[in-house]
Amino acid sequence: MPAKASRVAFGEALLELGAQDPRIVTVDADLSKSTMTAAFAKAYPARAFNVGIAEANMIGIGAGLALAGKIPFVCSFACFVVGRFETIRVSVAYTRANVKIVGTHAGIAIGEDGYSQMGLEDIACLRALPNIPIIQPADETETKQAVAYAVEHPGPLYLRLTRQNLEPVSPPDYRFQFGKAVVLRPGSDVTILASGGPLFNCLKAAEKLEGEGVKAEVINVACIKPLDEDLLVRSAGKTGRVVTVEDHSISGGLGGAVSELLAEVLPTPVRRLGIQGFGESGDPKGLYAKHGLDADGIARNVMKFLNR
């Protein structure tokens, strides 16, 4: 399977699911070419609504459509859609409206456009809302299954997708399960938790670490909320050291969620890798190197954390 952006896989999945389920509709805010709903809109023009550059309105319309029995996917860049946090808070979360919120262009990996277009705090914002699960798939296989799950899920949900291509990481027989994490590489010295964009780099980092005599367990936490508490606690108990890796602020994201869990259940040293401060313009490769999210950076930070 070639590398594919999760936003592209999302667009393809939606096109297929749309044929089977007439309840599916899309609402966009002048970014349908970027969120990849354009193909759905072409196939089902009567079920696709581009409301202009008006994200708050888009979310509200989605809530209303949901209350009328539709399954709306409201789509924009992660920063803009979650930027309308208070609209999501009341119109979607508190209303218990069955809206599927899709945030693409997650993280600094979008590169050149710079901070204002990067979704870097979206997980932190939505983690605080009681009933919005957060799913961040890591490759095409997982994305397509996650989108299918989103249609079935009885309630609102957030899908966090990438602009950049993602190398396949899921085994061929992979089955996405809501609320479950998956061990992609077993190990005993340190647990590396990640999902989405940086996951492939974590696997590469684990290979490098192996060369240094460190057996890293790499777990795909596609479901950031709710967390697979059992699996994460078991792995932390086994390795005694946990590293979280995310293309998101180190505050309030996966690292925050894992730290909160372990602090209460099984206090374990945690190192959070991710973005500190604002993002910036640059080529995605250079940005990942600078912010320590490439394989070298992850491996280096793990070694430091283990005092090796």
Binding site: D28, N57, G83, G114
Partner: protein, 307 residues
């Protein structure tokens, strides 16, 4: 404005268009369409209107420009470089790691940028707050704000539109604020008319209490005159509707939604520059021989292609 001044402005705008194409091509990404539609407005503001000093970007009495449609910041960088805020050679660091020339405006990394924009719909309110603050401080400064037509679909724009004619009244009316609509009729996904039509634009803004001036946003004399008129209006802010062409001066970009947000390839860029300079294909070689500066830009672009 005397003909000689208009000719000077036209020549600056032409140079800036060349620089926009140059820097976007080096960056390999960015927004040419809206940068080319807004450049005549920015050129007139920076070189014939605003009181500003590139050596003192923090001068408290300066006039301010808030480019609310922040994705078109290459146009702003080109006029800032031309005015002397930073060397023109720096333009090709646009969007590169560590460059102060961020993909969207960053007021900490680059002095002279007045506000972080790039999330559409926010700059107008900031400009309004600035205008109010300057009035409260008793400063002579004027504030100019450029909004995109697609951008005005954002609700926050209409919150600002409703409040600006009233904010600060009666003692501190915002007649130091001038908002300019870059009405190029195209947004990201498609033509504005197809996505969410704004019409009737003039009537809407008038109904919200704004004096509205309608101009051709590529006619430098009209721009200059409208800015005069705006300055003369007391007691209220002014709204200028500038009809423009997205991708103006490059045939294959003009009025074409495809060129909203992609950079030209080097060969496309060279053709774009030739068209901007108004040179025919036959005369191009001779032109480059007579104009070493343009020849250098072209050579640089050709080198990019080999990379």
């Amino acid at each position: 404005m005397p003909a000689a001044d208009l000719a000077r402005l036209a020549s600056i705008a032409r140079d800036c268009r060349v620089q926009i194409i140059r820097m976007l091509t080096h960056a390999g990404s960015g927004h040419p369409g809206g940068s080319l539609s807004v450049i005549d407005l920015l050129t007139t503001l920076f070189f014939a209107r605003m009181r500003h000093d590139p050596r003192r970007p923090d001068w408290p009495d300066r006039d301010r420009l808030v480019l609310s449609k922040g994705h078109c910041v290459p146009a702003l960088y080109s006029v800032m470089a031309k005015a002397g805020y930073f060397p023109e050679s720096q333009l090709i660091t646009l969007r590169k790691l560590g460059s102060p020339l961020q993909g969207h405006p960053d007021r900490i990394m680059l002095l002279g940028i007045e506000a972080a924009t790039g999330s559409l719909g926010q700059g107008f309110s900031i400009a309004m707050g600035m205008a109010l603050g300057l009035r409260l401080e008793g400063r002579p400064s004027r504030v100019y704000c450029v909004v995109g037509d697609g951008e005005t679909q954002e609700g926050q724009v209409w919150e600002a539109a409703m409040s600006a004619p009233k904010l600060g009244q009666p003692d501190h009316p915002l007649d130091n604020l001038c908002v300019i609509l870059d009405y190029n009729k195209v947004q990201l996904d498609d033509f504005v008319k197809k996505v969410l039509d704004l019409e009737p634009v003039l009537e809407k803004w008038k109904a919200f209490g704004w004096p509205v001036i309608e101009i051709d946003g590529h006619d430098l004399a009209q721009i200059d005159k409208a800015l005069d008129q705006a300055e003369a209006i007391k007691g209220r802010p002014t709204f200028i509707v500038a009809h423009t062409v997205k991708g103006k001066s490059v045939s294959f970009m003009e009025n074409n939604p495809e060129w909203h947000g992609k950079a030209p390839k080097p060969q496309e860029a060279i053709r774009a520059i030739r068209e901007i300079l108004g040179v025919t294909e036959d005369d191009w070689t001779g032109y480059l021989e007579r104009n070493p500066e343009t020849a250098a830009v072209v050579k640089e672009l050709e080198a990019l292609e080999k990379k």
